[in-house]
Subunit: 429 residues, 2 copies
């Protein structure tokens, strides 16, 4: 079905109606002009014969301001009230978007999380969507009304507003698409797709036309910052094709100039390496001289997890004299808290703690890697040639990540991008 | 009952629990510091043994900004979506207020219009409250939880958010107080009560301790701008004592340093004249040489009403030769539209139209006026002594209004204030 729709362009040519969910992020609805520009794109989708549900973020800056208000009252504020406060940002955009659509002759109506309802669990501040009642939405879509839904919000069983956590609007969009069994979920954002590397670092980075959910997950969590991780997981689970595209161009979703995130089987020519991701502002912590006995890792990492510190790469060195070193990375912003936990809350003997700030993670990602040897070797020798020291290595089926000194990040990304031949040929000529 | 509670101070002394609704306007919740200061006042009410429901406005400036967004999209925007957008201002404050209360150890929870629910008719943008379900609120009050309610909003039968029109939070507060059968509705604002005249004009104006609903209606609609007219009407109808007091002082509601708006019977010493109100920026329109036959007034004023032009004082001169002149006032801001209606939409012959801009209305208000002669005469002779020409006179049971040249407003208000002996004796000494 997906193939039919996307390979042979039958949809537009044959005027078969598709159900499209279009999500516009904060910069795409930053002011009234941008909201109107987004409305124009939706109008084109409607005129192409599609049924469209729109998911909107808060106007950029609004959510931060609301979060700041809450923090100003108390860093330990009630997260149920926090949800009531911050969800209003998306509510505002939803109403404005419905107005902007009506102004250009498109029938539209906003539907808040509690009106649909979008039911979530009651983990306020980072709730998970449990069920979306599509009855009303479908009824509206069937009479060619555009349904405008504020992202990021839902309602708990206790009838209180919940929010899904930062970037939650992507998740809302994919969840709505899944519930509607939509043909595609378009994520309009301030970049026009997923690139083989950050174009600000690699000028001839190539836009990927298709990428698998699995690769996207690695690219997203490794710092590409295009799609929220949870939305990609949900897309994979419910098999909704997600398209990332810019809201600042003239084209619309059906013209497919962005990047389509889809299942592996739909990608005919799988690349060995799809892209080079990087994540700056990491910190490396080594706990030196830990007893090498079962349960040590649990004793070390549970208190960190309890403190909501996001531990990433973990490496354990070879044991000497019954003692070992444990090395792991945390975001730089969590470093001070991590040190505090290690000093105060760890029921574990160790000799010393060594901290290395200013490290960066660079990753090579590709689904084809599974069936191709030599990918790791190319990475290590390329970095060696440039004199870049590898501090930590971690691997998965479809990626290899290394930790290096932060100053070498750009050099590493550019060198690896060239080594794997990822350049946009047109940009080279 | 009211007398018992307010005359003999039994409430505080005997620790009888009272139900208080406290409303904080935009300037009283303008930023986090002010919200926290308002929360402190609520805490004192709770500690005094009262059950408290709080009604909040949007932080000052927020509603204007949201209204501007809507107008920027289209002056003819969908008022249902407008309500979804602008109601978020109060939603934000409600959540923040609940947090601020919790921070200082007061159990609190926000309840949005749709959560209570506050049911309104479906006249979006200026809806009327039809019913407030108090079951949940009462349950919460009974467990000593402060109930925080966003003003200005409700929900229609179609489950869409409605708003009550500008200043609607006063109405929300009085409606909640009426539904709860509350002992008092405190309106915290940026003035500390209702004065015998605008203190910026009359430096020794006296604060009224008590004023009747009827007087307050005249004072409010005549420009005292302290309470929304509809909230006073609702207070009168449901017999809820309304107290106006400043949110910037140290005292709280029970200390009664503000002005209590209550029923006439509860005011033992009724003043002949309670205050001098004034309204600048009026315009006078005289339609000259209209045929003096039945139906003329209807032909003249219906098109103006249809155009939502707020016609105020109306005077018809003595007929000469079968022709008469009709004079009325409109707010200066409506003048251009009124002229347009008169020139284009009036099915009525007339000789000419005379416009006088820069006129002001000055009114003497007092419930005791009913039983005292000579009030009007004092007004006219005082103005005559100062050489102030009266252009139009209109009267009701409890007020006399005159239209004068705007430049004389302050002189007129001060002279009348002195003539009726309204000065604060302490301020004179």
């Amino acid at each position: 079905m997906d193939k039919l729709r996307y390979k042979n362009k039958t949809l537009k040519e044959q005027k078969i109606m598709a159900v499209i969910v279009a999500k516009f992020g904060g910069t795409s609805v930053a002011d009234i002009k941008r909201i109107e520009s987004a409305a124009d794109k939706i109008k084109k989708e409607v005129e192409a014969g599609n049924q469209v549900a729109v998911v909107v973020s808060a106007m950029s800056g609004v959510t931060n301001k609301l979060v700041d208000y809450c923090s100003e009252i108390s860093p330990m504020h009630d997260v149920r009230e926090y949800d009531t406060v911050v969800s209003s940002g998306e509510q505002i955009t939803a109403g404005l978007m419905a107005m902007a659509l009506q102004k250009i002759g498109i029938s539209a109506r906003s539907w808040l999380g509690w009106q649909i309802p979008i039911k979530t669990n009651n983990v306020h501040g980072k709730a998970r969507i449990e069920h979306i009642d599509t009855a009303e939405i479908k009824k509206r879509l069937d009479i060619n009304e555009v349904v405008v839904i504020p992202g990021f919000q839902g309602i708990t069983e206790q009838r209180r507003i919940s929010t899904l956590g930062r970037g939650g609007s992507d998740t809302s969009a994919v969840a709505v698409a899944a519930a509607l069994n939509a043909d595609r979920c378009d994520i309009y954002t301030d970049v026009d797709g997923v690139y083989t590397a950050d174009p600000r670092i690699v000028s001839n980075a190539r836009k990927l036309h298709k990428v698998s959910y699995e690769e996207m997950l690695e690219l997203a969590s490794l710092g590409s910052k295009v799609l929220q991780t949870r939305s990609v997981e949900m897309g994979a689970k419910s098999n909704v094709p997600i398209q990332v595209l810019s809201s600042f161009g003239e084209f619309i979703g059906s013209d497919r100039k962005g990047t389509l995130v889809t299942k592996e089987e739909d990608i005919v020519e799988q690349e060995v390496v799809s892209g080079i991701a990087h994540q700056k502002d990491e910190a490396k912590i080594t706990v030196i001289g830990v007893e090498d006995v079962p349960g040590v890792a649990a004793k070390l990492f549970k208190p960190l997890a309890d403190a909501a510190i996001n531990v990433d790469m973990i490496v354990q060195n070879i044991s000497q004299d019954g003692l070992t070193d444990m090395t792991f990375t945390v975001p730089r912003t969590d470093l001070e808290r991590a040190k505090k936990v290690l000093k105060e809350n760890i029921d574990l003997k160790y000799e010393d703690i060594a901290i290395t700030e200013n490290v960066a993670k660079v990753s090579v990602v590709g689904i084809g890697m599974k069936s191709h040897a030599g990918v790791a070797n190319t990475m290590f020798s390329t970095l060696a040639e440039k004199g870049i020291n590898i501090q930590v290595i971690s691997t998965s089926e479809i990626k290899i990540s290394v930790l290096i000194e932060q100053d070498y990040t750009e050099l590493a990304v550019r060198s690896l991008h060239a080594a794997y031949g990822l350049e946009d040929q047109q940009k080279i000529m």
